[in-house]
Symmetry: C2
Subunit: 427 residues, 2 copies
């Protein structure tokens, strides 16, 4: 049986990988992008080029939308000459863009009015361009059972066998799951730069510091993924442009404001990203954020190997990541996200950190252990923050995390296990 034709819009870094992977799997993929050069590149990779949204959608029983933002989605789906009117009866529409859950719901509601026959799946993805191209993304899909039964084969083609998450709760739940995952990703991306910039200020060699972080309790997936580009200053055109994570963090803080929920670390990261945007870093790879902490290439630092200084860097990251885990888990719980699924998903995705996988589990299960008190964790971070201040090194996340720990102490949590910081966020 021949494979069905698929329409696809949004052939950027991620979308190009996803679409060409489907081509490799034998699907006729009809791709469109506002940049003709992207369409040409797709054609060169075996895709079928189209010259309009309408052409990309006409007679396609399956359609994947992977443009960058909610306003773009709105325009390509419902704008003049858009996708929705051109889709055939009972088509399945996968929205893989990262959008606010409220926006995904508004698409469902607009479809219910204008095209109730269309099966709509809210299916944001995670994993980066390489995993997109190999069909091993993490996908968080929320939809009706009917829509899922029609579209699941296509979700499976694009995702790793273990990383397709059918998120309970229907449309919106997929986007919420992605959003709380991005709380961690958005903090850790800046964290990777904050740790390496602080290390450079301390005079620590970059290569060894990166290795030590990766082998310690300070590990995050973002360190694993970004440090090489940071060391090489391989920033242009940018594997992951600053504007991408900034958009995702904007979804988080905007949703948090709608719920009046505090997200101090994500919010701090956002402000630093906005400052960097103002300085012209928007299109540049987000590993360039290290420049917000250290003015020169960190590879230029003559490597001292002070174990004491290195410990400060590890402590900074460990405790900041602990507070990040608390912020993400508290927000997820508030949004009624399935926490077990959230834990499984994050542990094997771009939001992962050693702290999330250990202390985060304690927070989720409500089984807070006594291995280190909150007081002791605060003391470790405090030492790093003071040292950075003495060196005139900004430490945006470290200071914000320490502030959260001090507020936790004010609430009487100082003597409890460090994971009890999650209680500061309420619920």
């Amino acid at each position: 049986m021949s494979k069905p034709s698929i329409g696809f819009v949004g052939l950027g870094a991620m979308g190009f990988g996803m679409a060409t992977h489907l081509v490799k799997e034998g699907y006729p993929v009809h791709g469109f992008d506002v940049f003709p050069a992207s369409v040409d590149r797709f054609a060169a990779a075996g895709g079928i080029p189209t010259s309009s949204l309408e052409e990309s959608a006409r007679d396609k029983a399956f359609y994947v939308c992977m443009v960058a933002s909610a306003p773009q989605v709105q325009s390509v789906l419902f704008g003049e000459g858009g996708i929705v009117p051109a889709l055939p009866l009972n088509a399945t529409l996968l929205l893989c863009s990262t959008v606010p859950a409220t926006y995904a719901l508004s698409v469902a509601s607009e479809l219910a009015t204008s095209r109730p026959d269309i099966k709509f799946i809210d299916a944001p993805v995670s994993g980066g361009a390489l995993r997109a191209a190999s069909g091993t993304l993490s996908i968080m899909a929320g939809a009706s059972d009917e829509a899922l039964s029609q579209g699941q084969f296509l979700l499976q083609e694009m995702s790793d066998a273990n990383k397709l998450y059918l998120v309970p709760g229907g449309v919106g739940a997929g986007s919420n799951m992605k959003m709380v995952h991005q709380v961690l990703a958005g903090i850790h991306i800046l964290g990777a730069s904050e740790a390496m910039g602080f290390a450079a200020r301390l005079g620590l060699g970059a290569v060894r510091t990166a290795e030590m972080i990766k082998g310690s309790g300070a590990w995050t997936w973002m360190h694993e993924n970004r440090l090489q580009r940071m060391l090489e200053e391989d920033w242009n055109p940018g594997a992951s442009a600053l504007t991408i994570i900034l958009k995702d963090v904007g979804i988080i803080t905007t949703s948090a404001r709608q719920s009046q929920f505090p997200t101090p670390l994500a919010s701090t990261a956002e402000q630093v990203y906005l400052s960097a945007l103002l300085q012209g870093y928007g299109a540049v790879d987000d590993s360039s954020m290290v420049r917000q902490y250290f003015g020169e290439p960190i590879m230029k630092v003559e490597g001292s190997e002070s174990e004491e200084d290195l410990q400060l860097v590890l402590d900074l990251m460990e405790i900041t990541n602990l507070v990040a885990a608390a912020e993400a888990i508290a927000f997820a719980r508030y949004l009624n996200v399935d926490l077990k699924q959230f834990f499984t998903l994050v542990s094997d995705a771009a939001g992962a950190s050693r702290q999330f996988m250990t202390k985060g589990l304690e927070m989720i299960e409500g089984q807070i252990g006594g291995s280190e008190t909150l007081d002791a964790a605060a003391a470790r971070l405090e030492k790093a923050v003071q040292k950075a201040r003495d060196l005139h090194c900004p430490l945006h996340l470290g200071n914000a995390a320490l502030g959260v720990l001090y507020l936790a102490k004010k609430s009487g949590l100082g003597g409890e296990g460090s994971a009890s910081v999650v209680k500061t966020f309420g619920n």
Copy 2:
């Protein structure tokens, strides 16, 4: 009766004003500075130049130290060829530099060992170079009664009749009073830039916005003082260099860490100052911080006069200043600072704001009124923060303040008067 000779070290912007004022009042003032040009300028203004610390101190029954930082104080007082060994028996030593209270106490203790005859007064000042030159500074003096009785005439010469505060608690209490005052100054300096940068992003004309802020509940002394320089971009050499407020804020956050007390807004301001330092703004006037929010001179903005947008700017500043007042008052209370004196002092000094003078009084007196709920205040700030985000404008303080309000809501304070945000800081 002829006036006594006075020794003076530290002829920078503030010190030069103070020393030349004493000259005008008829005192023989023997001045020293590490920069020979400053000594020459002092001589040209009628001062008596000296060529060493020792010479400036020998036979001087009264000595004023106005160098920039604790390490400098330590060096000029106790270093080789320093002031203390050269002072005559029973001399009175005024330390007017801004230093941590713990450092002022360490000076007292070192004198108790080496020169117990010296009468030591911990007497930091506030008010800027103009008021220094006219002898109308605010001075916060802590010392033994004996030392105060000897030195009070000199404190009176340098201060406004209503602005000499004899702070109860002895040495250290003056520096603590200055420090909690600087919590407000340190936040409001950035706040002035944040408000004007946000206004520029909104397309509001700078001159009119500045006037509206000054005439509203968003007023601060810093707006009054900095906005003209900000509009004119009169930044070099800088009436008040960024490094000065950065040093003061460093004293605050370091002391706060020693007490494990949360100072989220002062800490946020510090991180932005450190970022600007990294960008090369250290020696520049702190009104240049507007560049952290808007990339061009704000006078270039074509003035729209949207009342709705202007209200967002006023709301941003009002609510941020409300939270700043809470942070300063809570920290002052924690440090056992005399709150009535603190209120009187701040209301007539560089840390003043309309919010401090109204809502701050409610916080101090524990008489929190019901004119606006915390929920309603948060909602006003929320609207400004969301608008800034939509414009990609950083809003460091506004976001930090909103985070504090959300945490206050989590503690169940949402329905109380907005001044109850002070309870979030404990005690």
